[in-house]
Each structure stands twice: as structure tokens, then as C-alpha cells.
């Protein structure tokens, strides 16, 4: 790389800005910010980013530009995250359990600890979904069927080694049943298979219940408390199964991003998450909000990693 006068001047200006930034946090952001989603457009990561977009604009006065880098179930994007400049102007969506399971099973070009998540802002809680006219009225009906017919209970879900798949493994273990998990390409395809009676039930998310309304029935949701949108659907815990979880979504920055900027990003996402209008939009979409800011990141990640790796080992996905 050649050092032209412009880059040197630019560098000096950057230093001056950084010095100013240390004094007051107001200097950031002063231009549009790129938010990379490592999946194609239209998925739940895209939708939740799109929901954040106008609030970012409104609260911080700059555009949040969403771009996509799909491939390898997110691996293509995550393996490149640290190659971006750590100036706070490029951030990327991250997903759990993806960033724990992928590097644990194979070489995908990044490691879990090599990524720098700065906030987890929501999750789509796991849920067992059946068609509205299904013979399974309650979770117990489904368990009874599976006990009488080992392996014959078919459930669709999105992908292998995913939140859906791990939930299926964990539940089979807790309930002492053997079911057949059928992986589909994305939640949309898994729902289609369910509505078309290709499978008997689906390992899906509360978002499926929100979208499909009275065409489907959720038998249980993997949350601490019932979802505000579905007050009649019990949690797994109420029914005696220790299951809380789903697909978590957050924001990560390149590892070269300085501490202050990490903190600042964490505060910004937190501020959007605290907005009541945003909260309502998310809940209406079937999402569940969580707040894991940068300061609590290490503890949260340790706990999640332990749980996912244990489930993946039990399933034989990793050794």
C-alpha cells in the first residue's frame, strides 16, 4: 500500500477525531454504518435488522445500511468479519447456536472466541408447532404417540446443528422419546412441510405461531414465561421440561474495534431495544427480546457454549 499525502492526512484527521471521540461520545457515528447480515434477504435475521433500521436512523441520525453476505449458513460472513476495519462503521449480525456449533464441528474459517459479539438483542424461542387439526392437542399427546411408536413421529425443522435440531435432541432426551427430525432449508420450508402434512409436527419458533395464526397450534414454548402474544400456550418448564432457548440474534464487531466503540455500540443497540414501539413490533412478530450488553457478554457466552456443546455431543454432531 502506498502512503499518499491523502491517506496520511486522512489518518491524521482520524487521529484527531479519535482524540475528540475520547472526550465526548457524540462524534460517533458521523456517517452511514454498514450492517452485514450473513444470510440472504428475507430471513428472520434480515427482518429483525430491518425493524432496527428506522430506529437507528431516528436515534443516532445516521443511516444503517443493510447488506447481505450469504453462504455456508453464515460461515462465509463470519469468517470475514475480522478482516473489516474496526472503526465502528461495519458491524455484522451474529446468531446462536450457529457461531458455537459451526466451528466446533469443522473448520469454517473462524472460531467462536475469535468473534466479538457486543449485544444479543432478541431470540426466537423454540416451540413445537402442529397443524390446527392435528391429533396432538397437548404436548402429552405428542409424547404418548412417540412412546408408542418409536421413531415414527416426524418433525420438520430448519437445518442440522441448528437451534431447531438441538432443541429436538434435548427434548427427546428430557421426554425419553425417539422422534425423527427432518431438516429443511429454512423455517419457511419447514412450515410448508408442516402445513402440507408431510410431517406430523415442526420444531419451529414462536414466530411461526405469529405468522400462521389459527392455522397452527403451538404445544409448548421454550421461554421462562409465556409469550405475551400467546398467553394460552404453556412453557416447557411449566410442563416439567427444563428447556429455555431458541435462535439468538445479536450484533458483532471486528476484533480490532476499540473498547470504547464496543461499549458505545452496545449502548446504541440497548437504546433501540428499550424503545417501546420497537418492543411492540418485535413481540407482534413473535420475537422475544433479551438484553445481553457487552459488559455481560463473557458470562452469557460461557453458559450458552457449555449448553450447546453438550447437546451437540449427545447428538453425535461433534465428538
Amino acid at each position: 500500500m502506498h502512503f499518499t499525502r491523502r491517506t496520511i492526512l486522512g489518518g491524521l484527521a482520524g487521529l484527531a477525531l479519535a482524540a475528540a471521540g475520547a472526550g465526548s461520545a457524540l462524534a460517533f457515528p458521523d456517517k452511514a454504518v454498514e450492517y452485514i447480515i450473513p444470510f440472504g434477504p428475507g430471513g428472520e435475521s434480515d427482518i429483525s435488522a430491518r425493524l432496527q433500521q428506522p430506529y437507528f436512523q431516528e436515534k443516532f441520525g445516521q443511516d444503517l445500511v443493510i447488506s447481505y453476505k450469504p453462504g455456508g449458513g453464515g460461515a462465509v460472513g463470519w469468517s470475514q468479519l475480522n478482516s473489516y476495519a474496526g472503526d465502528g462503521y461495519t458491524v455484522m449480525g451474529v446468531n446462536l447456536p450457529h457461531i458455537v456449533i459451526q466451528p466446533a464441528t469443522k473448520d469454517v474459517g473462524y472460531t467462536t472466541d475469535g468473534l466479538t459479539p457486543i449485544y444479543w438483542f432478541h431470540y426466537t424461542p423454540d416451540a413445537i408447532v402442529v397443524p390446527a387439526d392435528s391429533q396432538f392437542k397437548t404436548l402429552q399427546d405428542l409424547i404418548d404417540y412417540a412412546k408408542e411408536n418409536p421413531g415414527k413421529l416426524t418433525l420438520s425443522g430448519s437445518g442440522k446443528g441448528t437451534a431447531n435440531h438441538l432443541a429436538s435432541i434435548r427434548f427427546d432426551e428430557l421426554a425419553g422419546i425417539k422422534s425423527t427430525y427432518v431438516a429443511f432449508k429454512g423455517t419457511g420450508a419447514a412450515v410448508t412441510a408442516l402445513l402440507g402434512n408431510q410431517v406430523m409436527a415442526e420444531w419451529g419458533y414462536t414466530t411461526v405461531g405469529a405468522k400462521q395464526g389459527d392455522k397452527v397450534r403451538m404445544l409448548a414454548v421454550a421461554m421462562d414465561e409465556r409469550h405475551p402474544l400467546f398467553p394460552d400456550v404453556p412453557t416447557f418448564q411449566e410442563l416439567g421440561f427444563d428447556m429455555v432457548g431458541g435462535a439468538y440474534r445479536g450484533v458483532a464487531v471486528p476484533e480490532s474495534t476499540p473498547e470504547e466503540l464496543r461499549e458505545q455500540w452496545s449502548d446504541m443497540i440497548g437504546e433501540i431495544n428499550a424503545d417501546e414501539k420497537f418492543q411492540k413490533q418485535m413481540i407482534d412478530g413473535g420475537f422475544a427480546l433479551i438484553d445481553v450488553p457487552y459488559g455481560e457478554m463473557d458470562a452469557f457466552m460461557m453458559e450458552r457454549k457449555a449448553q450447546y456443546l453438550e447437546a451437540a455431543k449427545a447428538a453425535g454432531i461433534i465428538k
Binding site: 440472504g40 434477504p41 428475507g42 430471513g43 434480515d46 427482518i47 430491518r50 425493524l51 433500521q53 428506522p54 443493510i66 447488506s67 447481505y68 453476505k69 450469504p70 453462504g71 455456508g72 449458513g73 460461515a75 462465509v76 469468517s79 464441528t105 469443522k106 473448520d107 469454517v108 474459517g109 421413531g151 415414527k152 413421529l153 416426524t154 437445518g159 442440522k160 446443528g161 441448528t162 425423527t180 427432518v182 431438516a183 429443511f184 432449508k185 419457511g188 420450508a189 412450515v191 410448508t192 412441510a193 402445513l195 402440507g196 402434512n197 408431510q198 410431517v199 405469529a210 405468522k211 400462521q212 395464526g213 389459527d214 392455522k215 413490533q281 407482534d284 412478530g285
Partner: protein, 500 residues
């Protein structure tokens, strides 16, 4: 009731949106690599501040325009602008080569309008029952549908079946590279990080179709396309006569396009290929598909635009996107606070009907807009000197393959595959079977694995694969399409012998 919503859609502002959307979509779609999905995704933030109906009209118009725009580069450069225009190259480019590019562009516009209107009409009148079609297609039906698509190879490579099969096998192999979509296995990456994401279909498309054209342009002294000295305008009357002659083909292809559009995961490329295959199978004597037969363009272009309306059927009725651009539009709707799915038609019927009206409007506007832009595109490409044409197309291929996921490695893959494609084309292996393999491979694989898993769980593998009525129908079509060219040849020989 619909008339009322139609009047609502026809506000001056909405007409401007529809006009802008169609024009923008057509231009984006005409550039190889900038797909309809991307056109819609890029423009989504523009719609946040609009009211929901206008936002939907704008997005629908962009989508419609982009699908149509893919025809220009297919006809004039032998490179599909979007994957849904693959089969447009089969007859479009030969027509352009012999100096009928203007006619081909006009025909593609007319066919796209017809297809779009048919799709929208189905969306308006038969949405709820047709959404059941989406659900009737299970894993095994997708598997057989992909096999049916692959059977088109035998038709495409008449006389050189072995070479066609070799190309398809190569395509299937290429489609396996990277993290497998549903089993999450990493395959054929040879330890290389860049291969984890696999071969991007659109970059492969650009490479395999565009690079050989560029190499040949540079290697031969001839002009790119034949130039006619006298101006012939749109050749609209001639095009209309041809369209009328092919009305059965046009309607059949539009219906095929609508139905394939309803199936989530299939999309415009499969719709175009299936209807092309049907048009070719039912060709009248004297029609030479693959050598510049206008019916081939009509089949593909009407079918791919019909997928727009068809794709919205499961999107709006079931909340399940029928095509990738539908997924983006679904997300945009959610941001607008509209919940799609079963309750949408009852709860927010007025928005839905205004949107459908907007889709009709956008499709109708495609006629003047498309003819004008098409005329301009044709003139530009025909009159542009080679020294300018080659670098500009080369530039577009790089931009296009980069833009798909902002990745330099996709550009590399595009160039490598393109060079490989040129070498293979010298050996008589065409690009289309390879692309067919790349597109249909994952659909076949996923359907097979899912059907096998479900069939083993219920202990009825045989019934799973061969006991379902829709599957049997598709299998029958596959056999006919596979052996038809063979039988036709036999029959012709038999007749010749008996004529003596």
C-alpha cells in the same frame, strides 16, 4: 369491490411509483448478476416511509420489471440477466445473431406482459385454493420435479446426449461444493475457506454464459450481431402476429409459470425451463427450437413473469414466500406492521387488493416501458463497436458476480468457470446442462434426503417415492420428455424407410 381498490391503486402517485418501479427493475434486471431479489432488497428502505399499499406497489413493480429485464442480455449477449431468463438464451440469441434481435426483444416484452397478467389474474381470483398446491408438493415431489428439469438435458443436447449428461454431471458436482444446505456437511472444499460458501448460482451463470461470448468476440473479427441498415422500429405488428400464432404456447407457459411460482423454492428458472421443455415437446413441424424459434422466447418469458403473481399466492395466503424476492417483500411488510398469512385477506383485504391492482398496473406499464427500453438496449448493443462492447460487458460481469454477496472470490469463481466453460464448449459441452445441474442439484438432493428420512421413519420408502399421485404425474412427464426426442427420431426414420 375489486374495482374500488383498482381505483384506489390508480392514484397519480401510485402510477408514478409503478412506472418508476418497472423502469428501475427492468434496468437492474438487464444487468447480469443484479437479480430481481437484489433489486427488491436494495430498494426496500425506500418504502419504509410510504404507506403500505404504495410500498407494495413499488416493490411489486420492481420485481416484475427485473424479471422481464433479464431477457435483454439473454437475447443480445447470450447471457441471462437473471437466472429466470436462462431458457431465453436458447432461441433469443440465435435470433439476434441472424439480425432479428429487435423482434426478439419485442416478443419477449409481449410475452412477459401476457405472463404477468395471467399470473396476476390467478392471484386475484384463485389464491386460496391455489395455495393448497404449494402444500401438496412435499419433498418427494420436489425431488421428481428436479429430475424432470434435468430430463430437459436430453432435449437440449439432441444428437449429443452423452455430452449433455457429462455437462449435467459436472453441474451436479459443482452444486455439492461447500456447506450442504440441510445436512450441514462440508463437502469438496479441499480445505479452502473460499469454497465454504459454495458456487453461487448467479456467478456461475455469468461465468459460463458470458465469458465464452467475450472470448469469441475477441477471437473473431466479425461484428457481434448482424446490423440491418434500414430502421425497422419495434416490429410490433410482426411480433403480434407471431404471438397470436403461439397463443396456446403462451397460455400454457403462463399457467406453468404460475403453478411453479406457487411452489416455494422452485422459482423463475425452473418455471422457464419446464415451460420451454413443454413448448419444445409440442412443437409443430418446421419449428426449430434452439435455433431461433420465437416460441421458445415466448414460453420462457411468459412463464417467468407468471411466477411473480404465482409466487405471491403462498406469500400472501400462507405467509410462506413463493420466490426469493417474495421473502424480501414479506419482510418489508412486517416492518410496515402488516402480518401476512391466513389472517391477512380478512384483516387487511384493502391493502391486498390495492396491491394486486398495482401488480396489474405495473404489468400493463411494462408494455410501453419495456418496448422503449428494449429498443434502446438493442440499438446500443448492435451499434456499439466491439472495442467498447467487450470491456463494458466484461466490466458488468465482474460487477455482477461481485454484487451477489460482495465477494471477490465469487468473481474468481466466475472467471475460472467461464474459462472452463469456453474450453468445454469447444469440446461440444454446452453451458446449459451444467447450469441445470447447478440449479437443480440441491433441489433434488434435499428432496431426496427428506423423502428418504420420512419414508424410513414411517417404514414406507416405496410408497413415499412411487405412491403419491402428483409424483407419478411428474415421473410420467419426465419419461415422455426423456424419450420423446429418441422416439421422434425413430419415427422419422421409420417414416423415411416406408416412404421409399
Amino acid at each position: 369491490m375489486f374495482a374500488e381498490h383498482f381505483a384506489q391503486a390508480l392514484t397519480p402517485l401510485n402510477i408514478v411509483f409503478a412506472l418508476f418501479g418497472v423502469a428501475a427493475g427492468t434496468i437492474i434486471g438487464s444487468i447480469p448478476g443484479l437479480t430481481a431479489t437484489m433489486a427488491v432488497a436494495v430498494l426496500v428502505p425506500l418504502t419504509f416511509t410510504l404507506d403500505p399499499a404504495s410500498a407494495l406497489i413499488l416493490l411489486g413493480a420492481i420485481y416484475t420489471g427485473a424479471i422481464y429485464g433479464g431477457a435483454y442480455s439473454a437475447i443480445l449477449l447470450n447471457t441471462p440477466g437473471t437466472p429466470s431468463a436462462i431458457a431465453t438464451t436458447f432461441d433469443g440469441y440465435p435470433m439476434a445473431k441472424r439480425g432479428d434481435g429487435d423482434l426478439a426483444v419485442t416478443i419477449s416484452c409481449l410475452a412477459s406482459v401476457v405472463g404477468g397478467l395471467v399470473g396476476a389474474a390467478f392471484l386475484l381470483t384463485l389464491s386460496p385454493p391455489l395455495s393448497e398446491v404449494a402444500l401438496a408438493f412435499g419433498p418427494v415431489e420436489y425431488f421428481w420435479l428436479a429430475i424432470f428439469g434435468l430430463s430437459l438435458i436430453s432435449a437440449l443436447s439432441a444428437g449429443a446426449l452423452a455430452k449433455g449428461l457429462m455437462g449435467a454431471a459436472l453441474g451436479l458436482l459443482l452444486s455439492c461444493i461447500g456447506v450442504a444446505e440441510i445436512s450441514a456437511d462440508v463437502r469438496l472444499t479441499f480445505g479452502s475457506q473460499t469454497m465454504i460458501g459454495g458456487i453461487e448460482v448467479v456467478s456461475a451463470l455469468i461465468g459460463l454464459y458470458c465469458i465464452p461470448v467475450l472470448i469469441d468476440l475477441v477471437a473473431t473479427p466479425d461484428r457481434h450481431l448482424k446490423v440491418e441498415t434500414e430502421a425497422r422500429g419495434f416490429r410490433l405488428a410482426e411480433a403480434l402476429r407471431l404471438v397470436w400464432r403461439e397463443k396456446v404456447n403462451l397460455i400454457r407457459s403462463s399457467v406453468i409459470g404460475t403453478v411453479v411460482g406457487i411452489l416455494p423454492g422452485a422459482g423463475g428458472s425452473v418455471a422457464g425451463l419446464v415451460s420451454y421443455s413443454e413448448a419444445r415437446r409440442t412443437a409443430k413441424p418446421g419449428q426449430e427450437y434452439g435455433k431461433g424459434e420465437p416460441g421458445g422466447i415466448m414460453a420462457t418469458e411468459s412463464a417467468n413473469n407468471a411466477t411473480v403473481g404465482g409466487g405471491f399466492i403462498p406469500t400472501l395466503v400462507l405467509g410462506i414466500p413463493g420466490t426469493p424476492p417474495d421473502a424480501v417483500i414479506l419482510g418489508a411488510l412486517l416492518v410496515q406492521g402488516i402480518r401476512t398469512g391466513p389472517q391477512l385477506f380478512e384483516a387487511q383485504g384493502s391493502i391486498v387488493y390495492t396491491f394486486i391492482a398495482g401488480l396489474f398496473l405495473a404489468t400493463a406499464l411494462m408494455l410501453p416501458v419495456g418496448l422503449l427500453i428494449g429498443r434502446y438496449a438493442y440499438k446500443t448493443i448492435v451499434t456499439l463497436p466491439k472495442a467498447l462492447l467487450v470491456p463494458s460487458v466484461a466490466f458488468m460481469t465482474i460487477i455482477g458476480s461481485y454484487a451477489i454477496r460482495n465477494s471477490v472470490s465469487d468473481v474468481m469463481i466466475m472467471i475460472v468457470l467461464g474459462t472452463l466453460g469456453w474450453v468445454l464448449s469447444r469440446a461440444g459441452i454446452a453451458a446449459s446442462p451444467i447450469v441445470l445441474g447447478i440449479i437443480l442439484g440441491p433441489i433434488a438432493e434435499q428432496g431426496f434426503v427428506q423423502a428418504w428420512t420420512i419414508g424410513s421413519a414411517t417404514g414406507d420408502l416405496w410408497g413415499m417415492f412411487f405412491g403419491r399421485p402428483i409424483s407419478l404425474g411428474i415421473i410420467a412427464f419426465t419419461l415422455v420428455s426423456l424419450f420423446y426426442p429418441l422416439m421422434k427420431g425413430r419415427f422419422a426414420r421409420w417414416r423415411m424407410r416406408h416412404a421409399d
